[in-house]
Symmetry: C2
Subunit: 107 residues, 2 copies
DNA sequence: ACTATACTTATGTAAATGCTTAACCAATCC
DNA sequence: GGATTGGTTAAGCATTTACATAAGTATAGT
């Protein structure tokens, strides 16, 4: 599924660093790679993972490839997490209500 | 980092399935493993990944280990994503404002 | 005591990851 | 046109994953 790829992409500090940079605006490959403690090809591989996951879109003009965030994939991941968190809290509410009925019937 | 482990844990459908089950309340290992298309030891491994990531807490009583969600790790992952999404939207706002000033000065 | 249940540990393996170095285009620049 | 810059491809390698199967341990039921 797409979620697999998105979460997998987010599970690496180098890839998250790339995203954090892109949040401040588009950038060419070399600029994204420079701060990372690895070779250019390695950085490109990470970029590829981000692009596969739909988190980043890129476009090549002349010899420079410009990269930008696509927030929609990010948003889908967030929604998955949020739905579970909400479901969990609902459950706690129901449990609380149930415990309350026990307390009532015991008095 | 902890985020690495949390996102990595979420990147697998079997592990997400376990979480979705646990959202409806605690369950023993066997019940979590039953619906998964794999052996018990394999399922236990996934459970281990979830526990390492802090997404699940377990407790053994007699011979049965009961598992439950810990929503805090989930929440931290959600916050990371959300912070980036918000930063991105801010940037778009600033960009929009800038474009507006251009439009003004041109009239 | 004996069996079934619920895990747990050990071991092996095929595939995926995360990196490296080296070699290779293709646009710019001088 | 020759060097430089920006990126891409290729090949190789150590590690980690995601399973499997087989065997073991401890508790519960009869």
């Amino acid at each position: 599924m797409q979620l697999d790829q998105v979460f997998h992409a987010l599970a690496d500090p180098a890839r998250r660093a790339i995203l954090e940079r892109l949040v401040r605006g588009p950038a060419p490959v070399t600029e994204l790679a420079r701060p990372l403690p690895m070779s250019l090809p390695a950085a490109m591989q990470h970029l590829g993972v981000l692009e596969q996951a739909g988190l980043v879109r890129t476009r090549k003009v002349g010899r420079v490839r410009t990269c930008a965030i696509d927030p929609r994939a990010l948003s889908r991941a967030e929604q998955w997490i949020n739905a579970r968190r909400v479901a969990w809290e609902h459950r706690l509410d129901r449990l609380g209500a149930y415990l309350d009925t026990l307390k009532d019937s015991e008095s």
